[in-house]
């Protein structure tokens, strides 16, 4: 029984939150990595693209809610999601047409485009705040829990509760579906193959008749979808606040780089590595150990490797170590 309690406590506080957070980071990192792989620059505006897509989704969600539309136990935002993606896609395509294309045609070095994307980031940042404001927005409706801590306790008779939120379930399911579709698209379809060819060797791809503008457009469309899905899932699970999305950029880039920039598989692995390193290394093992150890050996302290204030230091230490020993990331990406 005690072992069960220990496992449940670990699941509840480490595994489930870590997995959901990891999935959110992975989706964000996929977008960053695609832009890096195909358009060859680090897109600092990605966090705010997520914010913009999520904002559009929230506005549609509110409209749907006011019309009395709902998905029953599922959040209405899922219904609004395609419209959010559409809005983000329009924004990205307009940005590309108005800004990035200019630099691409002049064959500007990547570092210039990175700085340009920083400027774009601030514009998106202001745009989102201008439209929806700076406050927290909660747009979750429907059933909150698949299983709540209290129900779990009364069901099993254990001392520890296990909570699985609907949003955590949705996050993981949606992330799996999105990743599967993306890989099918990149590996099996003609457009996907031309994107990979363009990523591998731009000149060769041009010679073999691939239309670069089309590849760029499809990339932005996919990035818009990934960013909006990641943003909405994150917003449903936690809450939407423009400032937080801006801050999300850091762990997302860490995930993409740890996994190997430009490598989609690496982005997913990186997301989970960063998420779990934040949660596990700073976890206080006291509760778990009290269940596992005989009474005489029970710890009196927190049994914490390091304080939670160091959780970012942990993920960035991992980043540095990976880059020192494998400059291209865990999975072979392009070196930075």
């Amino acid at each position: 029984m005690d072992i069960l309690n220990a496992i449940v406590a670990l699941l509840n506080f480490v595994v489930i939150p870590g997995a959901a957070y990891g999935a959110q980071l992975a989706l964000g990192a996929l977008g960053v990595t695609l832009v890096y792989g195909i358009l060859r620059f680090s897109n600092f505006a990605h966090g705010d693209t997520m914010a913009f897509g999520t904002m559009a989704t929230i506005l549609i969600t509110w409209w749907l809610q006011s019309m009395g539309v709902s998905l029953g136990p599922l959040p209405t935002a899922l219904l609004a999601l395609p419209f959010g993606i559409l809005a983000a896609a329009l924004l990205l395509l307009a940005t590309d047409r108005g800004i990035y294309r200019f630099y691409r045609q002049r064959k500007a070095v990547p570092v210039i485009i990175v700085i340009v994307s920083t400027g774009v980031m601030f514009i998106y940042n202001g745009l989102v705040r201008f439209i929806i404001g700076v406050e927290d927005q909660n747009f979750l409706d429907g059933e909150r829990f698949i299983i709540s801590a209290r129900d779990f306790k009364s069901m099993t008779g254990l001392d520890e509760g296990l909570a699985l939120k609907t949003t955590q379930g949705i996050t993981i399911v949606v992330a799996v579906i999105v990743v599967a579709v993306l890989f099918w698209f990149l590996n099996k379809t003609r457009t996907g193959k031309s994107m990979r060819a363009f990523s591998d060797n731009e000149d060769l791809a041009l010679l073999s008749g691939i239309n670069p503008e089309r590849v760029v457009m499809v990339t932005w469309l996919i990035v818009a979808a990934l960013a909006t899905i990641a943003g909405v899932l994150y917003g449903l699970d936690k809450s939407f606040k423009p400032f937080t999305y801006f801050q999300l950029l850091l762990p997302i880039f860490a995930s993409a780089i740890v996994g190997g920039l430009g490598n989609p598989l690496g982005a997913i692995a990186g997301g989970f590595v960063i998420a779990f390193s934040e949660v596990t290394v700073t976890y206080a093992w006291k509760k778990v150990l009290i269940y596992l150890m005989p009474e005489s050996l029970e710890p009196s302290g927190l049994v914490q490797l390091m304080g939670t204030d160091y959780k970012f230091a942990v993920s960035f230490a991992i980043l540095v170590i990976v880059l020192l020993f494998k400059p291209t990331g865990l999975f072979k990406g392009q070196s930075v």
Binding site: E135, F145, T282
Partner: protein, 394 residues
Amino acid sequence: MKKLLLATAATSILAGAASAEDIKIGVLLGFTGPAESLATGMAAGAEAAIAEVSASGLLLGGQTVVPVRGDSTCSDAALATAAAERLVNGDGVAGIVGALCSGATTAAFQNVALPNGMVMISPSATSPALSVLEDDGYFFRTAPSDARQGVVMSDILLEQGINSVAVTYTNNDYGKGLAESFEAAYTAAGGTVTINTPHEDGKADYSAEVGALASAGGDRLVVAGYIDQGGPGIIQAALDTGAFDTFHLPDGMIGDSLQERFGAAINGSTGQVPGTDSPGAAMIEAIGEAQGFQGTAPFAPESYDAAALILLAMQATGSTDPSVYKDAVMGIANAPGEKIYPGELAKALEILANGGEIDYDGASAVELIGGGESAGNYRQIEVIDGVITTVNFR
């Protein structure tokens, strides 16, 4: 000699021209950054007082006052300094209301206000460190120090029979100061703090923090954070995982969005926020309603009071020179004299013009103690049936 006379005459004409201009008051708040959602209400409060004085036509023989906004951000010392620099040397303000967060306030005051001899009255910086700041009498705050709040908090919890708590604080001057003063007061009175750990604001995920807090345990979770920052994320995660059911929430966490977001889910949670049962609180609410801002928004009353104190001190000394009127601030805020509430600034200006005395009570029952900080009146609240309810005043 002739030249000198001419020069003197020219200077006096220039000085005369300058005094006919508007008096500018800096409103230096964190309009962007981690406390940006507090700034809107606070700026409205300060600007309401400025507009009221200006409209009365009684200040220093009928001068008008205009607010000039500056963005101090919350935690970026360099930006706060730059914004204060612009207000003082660019716009030529005669006094500053601000800054919002304790960190920004310290930076703006030490780097700009003090060297330039500028009065700063912060409505919301509550870090205990500001009490011992070397200020030459230029710094005041209409918010109380958190050293006092820590004691109030500890009293409330112990009275409720809560003898063991876990504490998490926002990792800045405000959170750390409050958490430390609380832990000192609480353990001295016999309580146990199982863990005292910071959380970063605006971060993506708080599972790690909640995991550690849950593991440490305790009867209640003290969240010394911001309501529109990491605070709700921590509460949400603690509720969802079943780690804690009730919370104790200091001033930064009390706001309408708390009950909107959590409602009955945090029934039984307690907290305290600067506030009084003085008539001023209702009056600022009425003013806010008329002008389209929320008079009860966190620190909006204190902001109104900060702006009012600067202007009334100018009137009392007949000067807009900070080095002159700074000495009048304490006298105006405290007894003796006629009590002044929000909306009565015209009356106060008149009394001062006639050489009378006032005891400015304002919207937040201002009473300045020590080096010029609010004595600290707290409203003890409890979440009952999903509504933040006032249960006591301390």
